[in-house]
């Protein structure tokens, strides 16, 4: 059984799908019995969600217009 320290070290990579077997199974085994590490897992998932929701940047309308103008130009060329 891996320690909490080891499980936490791998937590984000585990969520990102970057942990291969057998390390993945070891993290899951630890999470199945450790409530504190499950709390960290839930927190890490929330943090990831927050980044995804709030970090997105829109395409500015003026840039969009200029890029579409490039497409127009390519069509006419």
């Amino acid at each position: 059984m891996i320690t909490c320290r080891e499980a936490i070290r791998q937590l984000w990579n585990y969520l990102d799908g970057l942990v291969d077997e057998p390390e993945r199974a070891a993290v899951e085994e630890h999470l199945s019995i450790c409530r504190r590490c499950c709390g960290e897992l839930e927190f890490a998932e929330e943090l990831r969600g927050m980044l995804g929701r709030y970090g997105a940047e829109e395409l500015p309308p003026d840039v969009h217009l200029r890029l579409v103008a490039t497409l127009d130009e390519l069509e006419r060329a």
């Binding site: 984000w12 990579n13 990102d16 709390g39 960290e40 929330e46 980044l51 709030y54 497409l71």
Partner: protein
């Protein structure tokens, strides 16, 4: 001005329509990815990408493959721009960063002692503008991979290729970027009086 016809075979009206149909829906994503990699040169990088894609449309055998095909062209355009820059970013040393855990910091400091969901309450106090301010405070070296992976949904391997960086180095930057983001969230909350008990 580029010579748009340079190196390409004669395009039919159907080719032109196909090009537009596959490219236009991808413009927003292409721009966002370019912003993460080359910042202020993003629009130029997307323009380069459109031109190269137009000239090489014959390489695209299935329209469903267009998003990945366009992204790979864009990445090469961004890499060309990165290589032309004289200075490569260097790693930044920040004291005790690798050991920082926002989860444990919150448990230790317990800013909302009456809360049953301390950690989530903390995160829920951040509005979009707060998160964007925290992200903007991170060094490019760490912010770029963080946004490409967690906002744009790219795989770390793809980001390593984009940045012309070994995967191990990219994973280390992602790790440090997450840690620094966590620490800056805490510092931001402290500085902006966000560590008071929520009013129910």
């Amino acid at each position: 001005m580029h010579d748009l016809r340079e190196g390409e075979s004669e395009s039919t009206a159907a080719d032109l329509k196909r090009f537009r149909d596959v490219v236009e829906p991808e413009l927003a994503l292409l721009y966002r990815v370019a912003r993460r990699i080359v910042a202020d040169e993003a629009e130029d990088a997307v323009q380069d990408c459109l031109l190269k894609a137009f000239r090489n449309l014959v390489q695209l055998d299935r329209d469903e493959a267009a998003p990945a095909w366009l992204r790979s062209i864009l990445v090469n355009c961004c890499r060309d721009r990165i290589r032309r820059r004289a200075r490569r970013p260097s790693e930044i040393w920040i004291e005790d960063l690798d050991e920082f855990s926002l989860y444990r910091k919150l448990a230790r400091e317990d800013p909302f002692p009456y809360s049953d969901s301390l950690h989530l309450d903390f995160l829920h106090r951040f509005e979009r503008s707060d998160v964007r301010e925290v992200l903007a405070s991170l060094p490019d070296l760490y912010r770029q991979p963080l946004l490409l992976v967690y906002v744009e949904g790219l795989h770390a391997k793809e980001v390593a290729h984009m940045m012309d960086t070994p995967l191990g180095t990219m994973l280390a930057r992602l790790h440090r970027g997450r840690k620094l983001f966590e620490r800056r969230l805490w510092e931001y909350a402290e500085a902006n009086d966000m560590l008071k008990e929520p009013i129910s």
